[in-house]
Symmetry: C2
Subunit: 687 residues, 2 copies
């Protein structure tokens, strides 16, 4: 994106432009510098679906918000900023010219054709159009632009732009997800492009997008621009929630020139509440925002995470929105613009917008409810964001539990994961005389392969091939004085012990493909090193898995082989299954999932598929994404026999693999143990 | 403390009381509910020192603040709340009756006697008095009470009490540190004691004390009261900074009925700046405050951490104070009272108070400066606070880097420290055939003792006894792709290797007396378990040290023994020196300090002291508290030969012990190495 040409050189725009400066000067003279501005214009209700299908992005959305503000006396205390259409060259500072032309030609089609086209568009791009759509989109965009300009220049203190259609899904080359043009992105680009000395010129902008969907368009527009910090909290769910790509994951941190200026808080499920949002704000968003120190803050304010929203499924209350607004108001001398994005339940968006507006006006915040606490999913997500952003923000490194690395060289160091593997090797040698096998692949991504001596001994009946992630680091339960501050919980040794009691030989491949590796990979800046992606980790583990198959399993005298996968080990075992002939010897495959997607049934050959369906079982934690939100999304996929465990902790589920293996092998039932057997899990889906 | 009796049953007070409710009703009728209140009364300047010594707690403090607020138009925008004297029974809700009587009798002494008494008092208790002191103290206390009542009842939105003498050092049974009565504590107790249904009754109060000194009096008043969350940020410096006790340390978390309701952020040195304070607010204070959810917030606002304060030595700017105020204003519906405590440089306190008042009035915050970052000392302190408070606050557990412990039982766990010791034992066995010695003492506090076979072999010349803390956990340097997320840095193996090259036998005693143990200890709630203190850890290590002396060193054929202590190992070695006869065999003692106090030269016997001074050397990191603030505080102590290293990282200093040991032993200089020798450290103090 380059600086827009001076307007004198532009062709006359299609609609009569309103001079930005004057338009505002009329509504908000100098004396309004402490006031809160608003834009509302009923003309933006003209954009509506021709299909008469009760589309959630309905015209009444903005009217209802306006009425609520009026009823509570807010409008009387605010300064109106007139709506105005964005000009073509302004829109094109973010979007490609073809997009403007395409939309303009569509909306001029005869109604029947337009209706048909819009139907197609809605299916392909979640976007509807009528004859007024581009006019409304220009109004929405221009209004956000003028509001941002007024706040940036100090003509009003802060403001809210009650506009539609929304903008944050609109990418430079396409309008999608109810969005034609990216209102906020165009407004920000405009202010960044203002000439030096202009009153409304800005140098650094924070866009905080609390719409329940990831603002892919806004992130794309400023992906590689270090002047714009884009922060989004949204449902992600392994990339299955709209817009349905990996682009909103916490490891998406910005382009090579702007690492750390995309901050994604990707909720793994529905139901996130005020405490989850507050935790994200306190733990990472506000510290990063302070370190970035913007001179303008824009909230891409979808209210579809609000309690009661028909699409969002989250639980943010007006109180939550007010507190987030208050925190953001501490930045940029309080220069804060709220621009409406999504939000589809009229009562919910109106009461949310009211709370935000009252906060803009300086009213006392509603009190924070007692007894509300952040969910496990929320805390875990935020912790991952902190680690992903730590390479780029000093505040994220400082707020980690342990001090940053000292600068001085010369002191030897050991990584936690390395210590764990060393200690585990010593332990398994002492307990089971397990011996190391050679490691292959990238030395940085440490795998550890160990096997019992019986693996290669004649007479061995059964060989368990156990490929698994290392356990999880936890902080101790404060009510349990036996627990230390930080510890690793891992059921892998228990599985080895179980195999020992069954008389199985055991080949154990443990991978430290954990947080530390991910952070390390993110930490590699794009200097001399090529930018890595998640590929090498997987490839290394798959290569190691093939190696142990070829060099150990294939040579083992064991009569039957049993596969047990855990976490990323599941994919590694599927890699063996897909690339080697295993059906003759492998009698059982049990895959224990963490929160990652379930591997698909191999479909290269029909008989391989049939074999897999007969001999395999997938165990899922009870809160696996398969079950949390949209159950039908997962159905119809070819996942094999999937069982939902009663437990949410994957380590607990791993312990259930004992029974599953016994079942598949037709072995005698487990010997009586001290603890009673758990209730049988429920089979939920089968291909 | 019990509810105060209804005032009708009280004896008539000594001074004519002003009815609290009416007094305010006059000044602030209902229409002031959105206004900011202030108390200022020049009569409080009558408290002054008789000694004419330019005492820093000078009358002009409050006048200068008032003038600054007036000059900037704040006073015109505020509502005045009249000053009034606190009544005896009100003061006695916090203080013992003897205190009131004692002060009243002193101030009625003839001037000469009063002057002499005041001089004595200033030496013993840092408190001066004149004939007006109790009158002013009653005014200050009553004014803070009325301001808090007005805000609690919603008669004004928030307010500032510009009062003196200050109060936060005054404990229930004594006035100290420029404080007679504890203004804030009395005000809070009064509101807590109000009858149900009273407009100004409160249930939970947050007192945020940002005075640079710990508010020992306030903490004491509510130590065991779960209704009051007392949070203090202050210089601590191993308990040497005023008030000079352990009571302001981060492990002081409240009494058994109120664990977690004292939150201390004890800065280890001077020079803390806005970013350090912001980090503490974001990382622990605001999350805890939200979880506590007070219905009134009071800032014990000393401004002696301000840039330029003659006593404080810190660097908090008006911007910093404004931002902290804004954050606190999000709590309790914005019911926020600012009560002046310390602060001794007139310009600094006036501009700080102005920034705070403008924030109370809702003015935009000054922009946060770019490029300001939290210090290593600040980040480390806050991390310790987080861990100390984690047992009592869900938000602190959730914001740790690793997820909380899963509730389900049955999954095996390994503590990081345990893993480290296991891995280390395996490594030192592989490299040096070091073997384990029995451990003694508390099994929870794991020590690991290892020795080389040569320890007990005839012909061994020298035995190195190395007692040390385990290394430090760090997060990786993001610019170094070789570093993982979390790792341990430890120079202990390097010392073992060095001893090996010197031909020394080696006895290594490593202790995990680390953060995890401390947190564990704090985590033991006062239910069935007795409340632990720091004693057991030290005792265990000392017992283990004596054991290895008696059972190994005393029996070793080695001709000379060398002691090397690191961290808490220093005290353990001193315990051997003090309790066994070691002078004949121990030829050198090198103590490498972290940030803990330097052990004192043993003085039980004169010849022991002489021996120690001749054969020992203490190495300190360059930022050891001995050097950071008050150099003369350390002088005159009997610390032996202390060398200040060039490095701040204790692990780096440990590596310097090699040269120190060579020097003490008169050994040949170190063989040439790849790195040039560092400049000789400077001897700074000798007993």
């Amino acid at each position: 994106m380059t600086t827009a040409p001076p307007s004198s050189s532009l062709p006359p725009p299609a609609t009569p432009p309103v001079d930005t400066q004057e338009g505002i000067a009329l509504a908000a003279p100098r004396s309004f510098a402490h006031a809160t501005g608003f834009v509302y214009d009923a003309r933006m209700m003209m954009h509506a679906t021709l299909a008469d299908d009760g589309h959630p992005e309905q015209p009444q959305r903005i009217a209802r918000i306006f009425e609520m503000l009026q009823r509570h006396g807010c409008i009387d205390r605010m300064v109106r900023i007139p709506a105005r259409e964005a000009l073509r060259h302004e829109v094109e500072s973010v979007h490609q010219p073809q997009l403007w032309d395409r939309f303009e030609s569509i909306v001029k089609l005869p109604v029947d054709q337009l209706k048909a086209y819009s139907n197609d568009l809605e299916i392909s791009s979640s976007l509807y159009l009528n004859m007024h759509s581009t006019y409304c989109a220009r109004l929405a965009c221009g209004s956000v632009m003028d509001m941002c300009s007024a706040v940036a220049a100090g003509r009003v203190r802060n403001g809210i732009a009650i506009v539609r259609p929304p903008g944050h899904h609109a990418e430079p080359d396409s309008g999608t997800g109810f969005c034609l043009y990216n209102n906020v992105a165009v407004a920000v680009q405009h202010l960044l492009d203002r000439p030096p000395g202009a009153a409304d010129r800005v140098q650094r902008v924070l866009i905080l997008d609390w719409d329940v969907h990831h603002g892919n368009g806004t992130q794309r527009a400023f992906w590689n621009d270090p002047r714009v910090l884009y922060v989004s909290l949204h449902r992600y769910e392994n990339g299955t929630f709209y817009p349905g790509t990996h682009y909103g994951h916490y490891d998406q941190v910005g382009g090579p020139q702007a690492l750390g200026t995309s901050v994604n808080v990707p909720w793994p499920c529905a139901g996130m509440n005020d405490a989850d949002y507050l935790h994200a704000f306190q733990r990472c968003i506000m510290p990063i925002a302070y370190e970035f120190s913007p001179d303008l803050v824009i909230i891409s304010a979808g209210f579809d995470a609000a309690v009661g929203d028909i699409l969002g499924g989250c639980l943010v209350s007006p109180t939550g929105y007010a507190h987030m607004t208050h925190q953001l108001a501490s930045l940029a001398r309080g220069k804060l613009v709220v621009a409406l994005e999504g939000g589809y339940t009229l009562d919910a968006i109106a009461s949310s917008a009211l709370a935000v507006t009252q906060t803009l006006l300086g009213d006392p915040l509603p009190p924070w409810p007692t007894g509300l606490s952040c969910s496990m999913a929320g805390a875990d997500t935020v912790a991952r964001v902190v680690r992903a952003q730590a390479p780029y923000w000093a505040c994220m490194r400082q707020s980690l539990d342990y001090p940053p690395a000292p600068k001085e060289a010369g002191v030897a160091t050991w990584a936690t994961d390395e210590l764990y593997l060393d200690a585990r090797a010593a332990r398994l040698w002492a307990n089971h005389q397990m011996m190391p096998l050679p490691a292959v692949g990238d030395a940085l991504l440490r795998n550890q392969a160990l096997c019992t001596p019986s693996t290669m001994m004649p007479g061995t009946q059964t060989l368990l091939v156990f490929v698994h992630d290392m356990g999880t680091w936890h902080i101790g339960d404060p009510d349990d004085p036996q627990q230390p501050a930080l510890f690793l919980a891992d059921a892998a040794d228990d599985m080895i012990q179980w195999a020992h009691t069954r008389g199985f030989a055991c080949l154990d491949l443990c991978t430290t493909q954990s947080v530390s590796v991910r952070m390390l990979r993110n930490g590699e800046r794009d200097k001399a090193l090529p930018r890595p992606d998640a590929k090498p980790v997987k490839t290394t583990l798959e290569a190691q898995a093939l190696y142990i198959w070829d060099h150990v399993c294939a040579l083992s005298p064991a009569q039957q082989i049993v596969f047990l996968g855990f976490g990323s080990g599941c994919d590694a075992l599927m890699h063996i299954i897909a690339n080697r002939v295993v059906q003759d010897r492998v009698k059982a495959v049990v895959q224990v999932m963490g929160l990652q997607p379930i591997p698909l049934v191999p479909k290269q050959r029909q008989e391989l598929k049939a074999w897999y369906l007969e001999h395999s079982l997938v165990l899922c934690p009870c809160d696996h994404p398969l079950y949390t939100w949209n159950e039908q999304q997962a159905s119809g996929k070819r996942l094999g026999r999937v069982q939902r465990a009663l437990e949410s902790n994957p380590m607990q589920v791993l312990l259930r693999a004992k029974d599953a293996l016994d079942t598949l092998l037709g072995a005698p039932t487990a010997p009586p143990t001290a603890t009673p057997a758990p209730p049988a899990p429920v089979v939920t889906s089968a291909s």
